[in-house]
Symmetry: D2
Subunit: 312 residues, 4 copies
């Protein structure tokens, strides 16, 4: 096993000085206000050790990374019949594109683009109340991370609701095709709240442990999902986790990963480590500029790419 | 290590009786004439052992699987500047789609859709003659497989040329955008010939060993490509190797793979095995129906998915 | 001048027996309940005579035909600056398509597809209340037709609101691009109400007289719009009035026309006549099957096509 | 009747000084070499008088305007069965777009985009030789114009052939769908030759007389096509004659018209006049900048818009 403490320290130091940091999301004030100089990294290994550097203990808005946890929870609720309403293919289009829904009759390409995550949230909502579904998501993520300090930032959720016309459009469009069962406002209420989860890299890396460990939460020893389901979620993160930049992420980093517009990325080295990075500046496809670079360097120094023979 | 001899024998027996075998490609007579009852499988493991069952020693037209070898050879010729002319993203569209070329100015999404492989072939052709480029591809694949009996089926290549209007259109379209340097007829002459390679599952699995072994041909000990390049080719196979069915293949099988319209699939378990399957019936996205099913069962029995923790 | 009384009687008789009547719109009960055997026709000529046959005095839901009156009113309110928010090109796509809005940044192709008419309605709403805007539209159409019996069918408007997810999606989508100033619910409230105008063919033909007469209402002698504006509205009806069936309507009928999903069509022979037909069965592009056929026969017998030399 | 001699002289004078002249086509040297200061206009009225001003007797490359004559000739050859292979709808896309062919199975939207005109040319070629088809087109246009001095510029045709990759792509693409019967090289040989017709505005306006006169050549008294067919060609010119700028041309000018990349436009006022204008600078949609402006002014001064009541 490589010297991870040294590696994360080195990477944090390199990122502190990186000149090209991308552009911080501007569409809502709480995100626009984040300092572009921030960079955090946290690794939790299979044996439970944690390696954290930079701003790895500072909370940030996980945004679309919550789609992974929402999918996991929804699969638990309805099982594989979820796939009748959401596809498993990369979309080749931006995160908020509506184009494919028209020719594909309201079935989103995958659960990690906005349209797909909205359908997943509709499933989460089920017959219950938004408040309950939001509470369930929060409890689920707290349990995964083993940390009850994780919270939802209501200011972020409210700001999203006020400016979320494209997501409202996506939701109504799918409801027009019969692929949304609950009222749009209720579904999006839940959606914007789980996207507004505030977590640190350390919390996020902990929450992702079940994906590293065949569906099992190594802290509790309980199965969060079956090994088969964990594997499939990893596969979806690899092919669809970075929108129309998923291919490039697989090409450069080679790990299942899911990015959020807050600048976080959760990445998984199956059987080895759960990793979270955060830097708020985004590249042109909406994925963290330095987060991606940091993961590329991490994989380069550890040999953790899933496309490489294991060297340890 | 699981009992691979038993596993391949079991899978071959199961596939012999499978009722839903897909549809054999009809667009050229040499492919249309292939018996839909055929099924072959071959595995070459990291330690050099070979496990072959069913029709695993019968030759078939590898078709688009040759795009993997063409890409490898072209990267050797021009290096990473190749990526200025071809992208690394899944397309979300069928293998022969021309739509994205219009808005993306003649740059194909990836090297494994037809448009991308035609650009790769243009690079292979370089300043030489078609005959030389075809010869180089044949020698390369023979060396990879360690088998000089591998040949190109001229009847297949001729039939493709006669009916290849969509590929001709793709090539001219890209040439109109300045992304094809050589004459269309010459480029497609080479393209159709390397797609007309006839190989058995055993030969194909052998030829894929360098992708299992970090770029090294384990038979000769020589590096075919660098470890980094092998990793990236595997990543591209995972995200783009099955056209608009790539996501589903990653979801169900979880291995880098490349399919061909002849019904073959080359799959790679990095550090473990190089695998080839063949059954001529295709599913609705043009990938082998039983080949995919066989790989799904193989991975289920071996735990070889790259999205799982390693269990051995 | 041809014998119009005989012609409309003949056409009504022919349409009564026509076997292929298209399909009545099913998406809201008030439209689905309409008898497919209905057919009406009314012609108002430049000299003020009226020729009515079949069900030409029976009220029906004019639906998208109201887009012509809404555009006329909005042009009166804001003038040609309207064209900064709506284009003048045929879309080549169905009436409720959202695809082009994505690449064209929320600017609808023309005012006669749903997206365009929603922007026009946003202009109509201006800074006022929905109730006022609806009242203004109703008064405007009553004045045009010289008939205060014209009314808005609230049951139709309510049914549209309940099922109008695609229109809500269009509106939010454009608001996301900054091309809708007022709240979506208010804009669509007005939109669905003006689409719910109930008029007979006679009333509709009368309301269209200003388009026949260079912008002048021949009954009052007042200019509704300038001659230039009337000409341009006619041009838009010709190129965009039948969605992705506009070319075929121009080809077969050769008059500016606007269809509605209720089965009505308003057509204009400039300088000669204003014409309305109605039959609720629609063809595959959502335009009245028999209405189109009736207009084709009318033009054949009168020589009124704008693409013909005038023969009278 | 307005004082046309004065009007054309005025317009020519105005256009001589117009500052914003658009951009001359650069893709082949013979077009790129044309002087952007040129402007010509010619009107032939129903009574046979001719009004010519500016460079109205100077030859230019008519390019896509030839699509009108090719369509007329092909309809004469195979009649309305032509419409099984070509649509009658505006495309909403640029002249050389290939996108719609994919989803619409190789059937071009209309005969005035490149793909449609290539199918029309395939029909013209029939079972004969390219040389014969080219000769037939030349004789046809000479007869229409009553002028045997009209010729095809071989240098233009050759230059098109050398750079025509997108047209070659369109042709092969349609052949892949079975919508091209003859060899691509032969069809495009004819296509590029009829696009290379050199004509003056006077010759072009004369050639268009049959479209003004219900299909009849007023010089010979013979019917070139039936009145119904002339009307339909006019309708297609109105809805599709300026590619994705057709709506704007109808909106501003209000006459059936067909533009060419050489800067010419043929326009028809049915029953009144056949009009040709020429100025080589193009607007962003590939239509003559000053040609359009000149026609707009002509219609403003004459009241000839087909969307206006006739005032004479």
């Amino acid at each position: 096993m490589p010297d991870l403490a040294a590696i994360v320290a080195d990477i944090a130091a390199e990122m502190a000085d990186a000149p090209d940091r991308g552009t911080v999301a501007q569409y809502i004030p709480p995100l626009a206000a984040v300092d572009p100089k921030r960079f955090g990294i946290a690794i939790v290994t299979d044996d439970g050790r944690e390696y954290v550097a930079g701003d790895g203990d500072m909370g940030f808005s996980i945004q679309s990374i919550s789609k992974v946890f929402a999918l996991t929870l929804a699969l638990g609720a309805v099982g594989d019949q979820l796939w009748q309403r959401v596809g498993v293919e990369p979309s080749g289009t931006p995160f908020n594109s509506i184009v494919q829904l028209e020719s594909e009759h309201g079935i989103p390409r995958n659960p990690f683009i906005n349209a797909g995550a909205i359908v997943v949230t509709d499933i989460l909502l089920g017959r219950g109340e938004p408040r309950e579904a939001i509470g369930e998501m929060l409890r689920f993520v707290r349990t995964l991370a083993g940390d009850d300090a994780i919270y939802i930032d209501d200011a972020v959720a409210r700001a999203e609701l006020e400016t979320g016309h494209r997501n409202i459009a996506l939701a109504h469009y799918m409801r027009g095709f019969g692929n949304l069962n609950r009222e749009v406002a209720r579904v999006l209420g839940v959606y914007f709240h789980h996207c507004a989860l505030t977590m640190s890299c350390r919390q996020l890396a902990r929450a992702g442990r079940y994906l590293m460990d065949g569906g099992r939460n190594p802290e509790t020893g309980h199965n969060v999902v079956s090994a088969r389901r964990a594997r499939r979620i990893n596969a979806l993160m690899l092919t669809c986790g970075h929108y129309d930049g998923s291919g490039e992420f697989a090409f450069r980093v080679g790990l299942p990963g899911k990015s959020g517009v807050g600048g976080g990325i959760l990445a998984v080295a199956p059987g080895i480590a759960s990793i979270a990075v955060w830097s708020p500046g985004l590249n042109e496809r909406g994925n963290s500029q330095l987060g991606t670079l940091a993961l590329e360097r991490l994989v380069h120094r550890t040999g953790w790419s899933i496309f490489d023979p294991r060297v340890f």
